[in-house]
C-alpha cells in the first residue's frame, strides 16, 4: 500500500499528446515535473482555471502503469461535461494542466499482492484497471487475471487493440467483453449489462479468493459489488471506485 509522506499539492503538468481512443474518448499523455510515481489504480485531480478566476476540478484515474514514461489519463467526452469537453476539444500539445496526485491508496494494486485478479469495468472505468494490467505486464507478472469489460459498442471499447495484443501474448490474461447497445455482425460474446450470472460465469469462484476491482459509474459499481458479495466473495477483497453519475 502506498504510504504518502507529505501533503499532496497542486503542480503543473505539460500536455505531450492528446490521443483519440474511441469516438468519445481521448487519452491525455502528460509530463509531470517532480512526479514521484504512483500505484496502479490511483487517480489524479485536474483543475481548470478561467481568466476571471473561476475554478473547477475533476478526478481522473491514471491509466498508465507506474513503469510508463508518461502519465496517461483517459477522458470520456460528456455532452454537457464542463471539464471533459475542455480536455477533449480544447487542450493540445504544449498546454499546461494543473494536476494533483497520486491520490488514493485504497483502490490500488501492486503485483506483489498477487491474485488471482478479477477486474470489472464499464466505459471509462477501464482506466485504473488498464493501469493495473499495464503494470502487471511491465513487471513481468504471471498473476492470473480476468478483465470483464462492459462497453456500449465495439467501437467504444477503450484500449481495445492493446488489450487484444496483451491477451493474445499472455495465457494468464483473459479479456472478456460485453457490448450493451450494439454489436458487430457475427458477435458471439456477451450482449447485455453485467449481472450476477455473468460475474459468476466469468469471474473466479469465491473459493479461489480473487482480488476484485470494480470501476465505473456509481450505479454500475454498486450493482456489481452487491452481486459479487452475494455470490460469496469476501467484501474485504472487493474494492470499488465509483465515478459518480457520469464519470466526470
Amino acid at each position: 500500500m502506498a504510504v504518502q509522506l507529505r501533503r499532496i499539492l497542486w503542480g503543473l503538468a505539460e500536455v505531450i499528446e492528446v490521443v483519440p481512443e474511441t469516438p468519445r474518448t481521448k487519452s491525455l499523455l502528460l509530463e509531470v515535473p517532480e512526479w514521484e510515481g504512483h500505484e496502479a489504480g490511483q487517480h489524479g485531480d485536474v483543475r481548470l482555471t478561467a481568466q476571471d478566476g473561476y475554478q473547477t476540478q475533476r478526478s481522473y484515474s491514471i491509466a498508465s502503469a507506474p513503469e510508463d514514461e508518461r502519465l496517461m489519463l483517459a477522458v470520456d467526452r460528456l455532452d454537457d461535461g464542463e471539464v471533459s469537453i475542455y480536455l477533449t476539444d480544447v487542450l493540445m500539445t504544449g498546454d499546461k494542466l494543473e494536476l494533483r496526485g497520486p491520490i488514493g491508496g485504497y483502490f490500488a494494486w501492486e503485483e506483489g499482492e498477487g491474485g488471482p485478479l478479477f477486474l470489472v469495468g464499464a466505459g471509462s472505468g477501464i482506466a485504473p484497471l488498464m493501469a493495473m494490467i499495464r503494470h502487471r505486464g511491465a513487471a513481468g507478472s504471471d498473476v492470473p487475471t480476468r478483465l470483464l469489460y462492459s462497453s456500449r459498442s465495439y467501437e467504444e471499447i477503450i484500449f481495445r487493440e492493446e488489450l487484444e495484443t496483451l491477451a493474445s501474448r499472455d495465457g494468464a490474461l483473459e479479456v472478456i467483453h460485453t457490448l450493451t447497445r450494439s454489436r458487430p455482425e457475427g458477435w458471439s460474446g456477451y450482449d447485455r449489462r453485467i449481472d450476477a450470472e455473468m460475474l459468476g460465469e466469468v469471474g473466479w469462484s469465491p473459493e479461489e479468493s480473487p482480488l476484485v476491482f470494480v470501476c465505473g459509474p456509481t450505479s454500475f459499481v454498486e450493482g456489481a459489488a452487491d452481486a459479487l458479495v452475494r455470490l460469496g466473495h469476501d467484501p474485504a477483497r472487493v474494492k470499488t471506485e465509483r465515478f459518480g453519475p457520469t464519470g466526470g
Binding site: Y54, T56, V90, K96
Partner: protein
C-alpha cells in the same frame, strides 16, 4: 504553487454576469443538486413537522395536518454560496409565521433540524415577518427528494444553505447553535448582499 495560472481557452459553463445579482454570483439555468449525505426517504405515514425547544407546548403536524395548513405561492430569487443564483424561482409553502402563530417564546434563534444530520441556525427574526416558508412544491410540482422533498425550509434572503432540505422542524433556542456548514467555516448569518460566505466576512 501556481499563482496566476489559468487554463488557456477555458471558459467554464456559460455564466452571464448580471448587475442585479449579489456580489460574486452568476446566473444559473439549471438547479444544481448539492448533497452532503444520502437522500432521506421518510414514509409519509411516519413523517411529521414540529416546533420544539423554548415553547410552552411543542407543536406537531402529521402530513395530513400539515397539508391542511394555509399555504401561499412564493416567487423569489435564490443565491447559493457556491456562487450560482436563480431569479424568480416559484415555490408553494406554509409561512413560518403560520406555524408559529400564537407562540410565546424567549428564544431569539431557531435551529432547523432535518432527516439525516443536517442543521442550520438562524435568528428568529429572520424566519418571521413573511421572510420564511416551509415549502412543499417547486415550479408547480411536489418538491422532489433530491431538492429537499417532501418539504424544505425556504429563506430566500440568505444564502441557500440556510434553506434546509428535508426539514422536520424548528427548535427555538435562547442561544445560537451553529449548524452543519456554520461549524465548517461558513458564515453564521449569510447575507448574500454583504457577501457573508465565511466566518469573518
Amino acid at each position: 504553487m501556481t499563482e496566476g495560472f489559468f487554463s488557456r481557452g477555458f471558459l467554464g459553463r456559460r455564466r452571464s454576469q448580471d448587475t442585479e445579482l449579489p456580489p460574486g454570483q452568476y446566473l444559473e439555468d439549471g438547479f444544481p443538486v448539492l448533497s452532503a449525505g444520502p437522500t432521506p426517504r421518510t414514509p409519509q405515514e411516519e413523517w411529521d413537522f414540529s416546533i420544539v425547544g423554548e415553547i410552552d407546548e411543542p407543536r406537531r403536524w402529521t402530513w395530513e395536518e400539515f397539508s391542511q395548513l394555509p399555504s401561499e405561492e412564493i416567487t423569489r430569487d435564490i443565491h447559493c454560496v457556491t456562487k450560482w443564483s436563480k431569479l424568480g424561482t416559484s415555490w408553494e409553502g406554509v409561512s413560518v409565521d403560520t406555524l408559529l402563530e400564537g407562540v410565546e417564546t424567549a428564544a431569539e434563534y431557531v435551529t432547523a433540524f432535518c432527516d439525516g444530520d443536517y442543521t442550520t441556525n438562524l435568528p428568529l427574526v429572520d424566519v418571521t415577518g413573511g421572510k420564511a416558508w416551509v415549502a412543499f412544491a417547486y415550479d408547480g410540482e411536489p418538491l422532489e427528494p433530491e431538492h429537499g422533498g417532501p418539504v424544505r425550509l425556504l429563506v430566500p434572503h440568505l444564502y441557500f444553505w440556510k434553506s434546509a432540505k428535508w426539514v422536520r422542524g424548528l427548535q427555538l433556542t435562547t442561544y445560537d447553535i451553529p449548524g452543519f456548514w456554520e461549524t465548517l467555516g461558513y458564515h453564521n448569518y449569510g447575507d448574500p448582499w454583504r457577501e457573508q460566505r465565511y466566518w469573518g466576512d
